[in-house]
């Protein structure tokens, strides 16, 4: 069995992941590196206002005056892919990054799925874990990678494919992604579903449509298996954010950092790791960067402990100009296991102690502690 994790509008999701409220506003995504910027994706309110992919910014504003433009960020997309792969690795170690926003998971060897009745609950759990990263996700489970992919993209809320032939036959022809020319021909023929298409016969369709018919038959296959290009999720934990306007308050910084550490906590737990260092570069309006590497008193993946360290650090610094962007990265390590001797006592809460030391340094200066 295979599962596919599909993130629709991946580039837009990656750009809006840390600001989900923007999904309720007309936001369009453009590629700043293109010579002529075009709309790559748009939120539902922008689509309702008539914004379409490929529109230029003036056309977009003519359709929707309130439209807000966001730039596509390859760094955000890479970070999002890392995050999803890390969370998915907590469910199965056999992962393939099939394409942007599409991850295929092989379920072979998972003991908890010996009973196929558990598949829907497993898929729901996987969906919940990826959704916790602030992403909209669709899960599909099927006997082949192709079937699972169709289920993720087109099943509309029914993640596990039971009768493969019936499921494939019920899909619309558009699910096979024909070229516009062939799609027009099929529409003129009155072919609406994959079942109608398959009923025409492979040889007859190849005679009339050429090689593309063979590709469409392959896309409609419910039995073809292919080896996955398995990868290991990178042990990289990075998040970044650029403010539209310079930020002069700490509340927004703390709000974003809380989101970052929540994500780190979930991902570190999936990989069985803990953060040893946190690095927090703050980009200032003046062009300078205030970079600080914070060592945790002991490796941890508890979001509260990570957040307290960052909060204490931010309370102890002053910047001359507002912050225009920030990034947070965590250096992972194995969680430390220690066996104390009989009369040895550990510090009850090392993170609290670290926070106290930080506050003391801010109060009396770092040179007055011994």
């Amino acid at each position: 069995m295979f599962a596919v994790i599909y993130l629709p509008d991946f580039a837009l999701q990656a750009a809006l992941r840390h600001d989900p409220d923007l999904w309720n506003q007309p936001v369009v995504l453009v590629d700043p590196s293109a010579s002529t910027p075009r709309v790559l994706a748009a939120t539902p309110p922008a689509r309702l206002a008539g914004v379409l992919e490929g529109m230029s910014p003036p056309q977009t504003l003519a359709c929707c005056r309130e439209a807000r433009f966001r730039h596509r960020s390859l760094a955000q997309e890479s970070a999002t892919t890392d995050a999803v792969l890390q969370v998915a690795s907590g469910f199965s170690s056999n992962l393939e990054s099939t394409s942007l926003g599409l991850i295929t998971v092989e379920l072979r060897g998972l003991v908890e799925l010996n009973d196929s009745q558990r598949l829907p609950a497993w898929a729901s759990c996987l969906q919940g874990s990826v959704s916790a990263l602030g992403l909209r996700v669709q899960i599909g489970v099927g006997a082949t990678p192709n079937l699972a992919r169709h289920a993720a993209l087109w099943s509309g809320g029914l993640p596990v494919v039971g009768d493969a032939a019936e499921f494939i036959a019920s899909l619309r022809v558009a699910a096979l992604e024909p070229t516009p020319h062939v799609a027009d021909i099929l529409q003129h023929w009155g072919i609406r579903t994959v079942g109608d298409f398959l009923a025409l016969g492979q040889a007859e369709l190849s005679d009339r449509l050429g090689l593309e018919a063979l590709e469409l038959f392959t896309a409609a296959s419910a039995t073809a298996l292919r080896p996955l290009h398995l990868i290991r999720p990178a042990e990289r934990f990075e998040e970044s954010w650029d403010f539209e306007h310079e930020d002069e308050t700490m509340e927004l910084l703390l709000f974003l950092l809380r989101r970052f550490v929540d994500s780190f906590g979930q991902r570190l737990e999936a990989l069985g790791l803990a953060a040893e260092y946190l690095r927090l570069p703050l980009r200032l309006e003046s062009g300078a960067t205030l970079d600080q590497c914070l060592r945790l008193p002991e490796p941890s993946r508890q979001p509260d402990a990570l957040f307290r360290t960052l909060q204490t650090h931010l309370e102890s610094i002053r910047t001359e100009t507002p912050v225009v962007g920030l990034a947070l990265s965590a250096e992972p390590t194995r969680p430390r296991q220690r066996q104390f001797s009989l009369f040895e006592a550990a510090v009850r809460d090392p993170h609290q102690f670290q926070e106290t030391l930080g506050r003391l340094s801010a109060l009396v200066g770092p040179e007055t502690e011994f």
């Binding site: 510090v347 609290q352 102690f353 106290t356 003391l360 109060l363 009396v364 007055t368 502690e369 011994f370």
Partner: protein, 133 residues
């Protein structure tokens, strides 16, 4: 306290904070008592001037008392005169040591020390009963 006389193993478990004023020392004490990791906190105010000590708010001592009760911490506050209202136990150093004692070792000095207990938990309980009765 002479840091050089302490064993390295003890020093690894000692946090020493040097403060510039009594007010700052109380702020530091507040942080340390809230930390919950430190079972003993010693605040040495004996070199502070009486004027500076009189300016300290008495509500701070009550807050420390609540914190020590809540966190299970023991706080020893050394002052040149009785100052800490609500202290569970109050002890006065009755012996008068001179500079010549510095040439003796710590063990010899310890033998010369005399303490006078001014208040114990039991006497405090009796006084509070009398006050309520």
């Amino acid at each position: 306290m002479d840091l050089e006389t302490l064993e390295p193993a003890v020093l690894t478990r000692l946090l020493w904070v040097c403060c510039q004023s009594a007010d700052e020392a109380l702020k530091v004490t507040d942080l340390l008592l809230r930390d919950r990791n430190l079972p003993r906190v010693v605040v040495d105010l004996k070199l502070c001037s009486p004027t500076e000590l009189r300016r300290l708010s008495s509500s701070g001592w009550h807050r420390f008392h609540r914190l020590t009760e809540h966190q299970g911490t023991t706080a020893l506050i050394i002052t040149p005169q009785p100052l800490v209202s609500g202290a569970t136990c109050r002890v006065r150093v009755a012996s008068h040591l001179n500079l010549a004692m510095l040439s003796l070792g710590p063990d010899a000095v310890k033998t010369q020390l005399r303490f006078e207990v001014l208040r114990t938990p039991a006497s405090r309980a009796v006084r509070s009963q009398q006050a309520t009765g």
